[in-house]
Each structure stands twice: as structure tokens, then as C-alpha cells.
Symmetry: C2
Subunit: 102 residues, 2 copies
């Protein structure tokens, strides 16, 4: 895998957990949102990732039809929120460590 992806796939998942903790989010919406943050994530990665997160109880889903299109909306579970908390903490820790001070 290319390093750039490799370094940031974790970031992407944290973004997902965060957004789904704030509101219901669909795959497409996430796709655009992530692009906005500089992450190009293909459907072949995104959708399996969402399902995996759901399978592992970090997300729950509910499908429905909107504007003539089937959509699946995700929300972060309690377990996911706990993971998100940990991620916040680790991210701060990382920044504190690697920050340049000069």
C-alpha cells in the first residue's frame, strides 16, 4: 500500500466515527466529506469499511429511500464513541510529540 494511504486510513476511520457520532451519515455523504478533507477513498474501500465497523459494533445502520435513492445511514454506537474518545486522546498525544517548537 502507498504510505500516504497507509498513514492516514486510521485518520479516515476516526473521521467516520466522529461524523456518525454527530449525525446520521451515508456512504456518499462521507465520500464527499472525506474528499473535502483531502482523503480520496474509493467505494471499494469505503463500503466494506462501513460494514466492517458495523459488524464490529462501532456503527449501526438504517437503510431508507431518499430523493429516489436507496441510502444507508450510519450512527456511532456507545462502543464507537468510546473508541473515538481514545482516538482524540491519542491524536493529541501524537501532536504534542511530533510538534516542532522552533
Amino acid at each position: 500500500m502507498k504510505l500516504q494511504r497507509d498513514l492516514f486510513l486510521g485518520f479516515v476511520k476516526i473521521h467516520i466515527l466522529y461524523h456518525a457520532s454527530q449525525e446520521e451519515v451515508s456512504g456518499v455523504w462521507l465520500s464527499t466529506e472525506l474528499k473535502r478533507h483531502g482523503y480520496a477513498i474509493s467505494p471499494g474501500t469505503l463500503y466494506p469499511t462501513l460494514r466492517k465497523l458495523e459488524k464490529d459494533s462501532y456503527l449501526t445502520s438504517s437503510g431508507r429511500v431518499e430523493q429516489g435513492h436507496r441510502r444507508i445511514y450510519y450512527r456511532t454506537t456507545a462502543r464507537g464513541k468510546k473508541a473515538l474518545e481514545k482516538a482524540r486522546h491519542q491524536a493529541h498525544e501524537l501532536i504534542d510529540e511530533i510538534e516542532e517548537w522552533e
Copy 2:
């Protein structure tokens, strides 16, 4: 893979790039340092990772003997530093996004 690892392996690599940009670091040293930061990373992951980073020109290595033991020291290359810069930026971006404000 367990989510906890999954989310943070990128963090680990960023740590590595950072430390090796500050000073020469060996596998063992990194192992202890990472543990200090809460990352339990096994030799079966760490050493292949270092070699991979070297192979992809993010690190350079130089082996030598110290206190009776063979060690391999790594330093971050220009390319690695560039990746590190990007990582700093993305990490800030992540924090700004997922931070709780209440």
C-alpha cells in the same frame, strides 16, 4: 485486525518518522518508546515495517555493533520528512475537526 490497532498503526508510523528525524533510532529503542506512548507493537510488525519504510525511501539504515549487540539505526530521509510534514498537517486538521467544543 482489531480496530484499536487499525486506527493507530498510522500514528505509530508517524511516530517512527518523527523520532528518526530527530536522531538515529534502532528497532529496540523504538519498541520501548512506542510502548511508552501506549502502542504495543510486536517485533513481527515493527521490523518488517522498518524495512518497508526503508525500501520505500522514507528511512535509511546503518548497522553497527554497540555494547556487544548488533543494532540497526534508522534516520528519516528528505522524502520521509516531507511525509512527516504532511502528517503533521493532517493530524492538526483531524484534531480541529473532531474536537469537542462544549
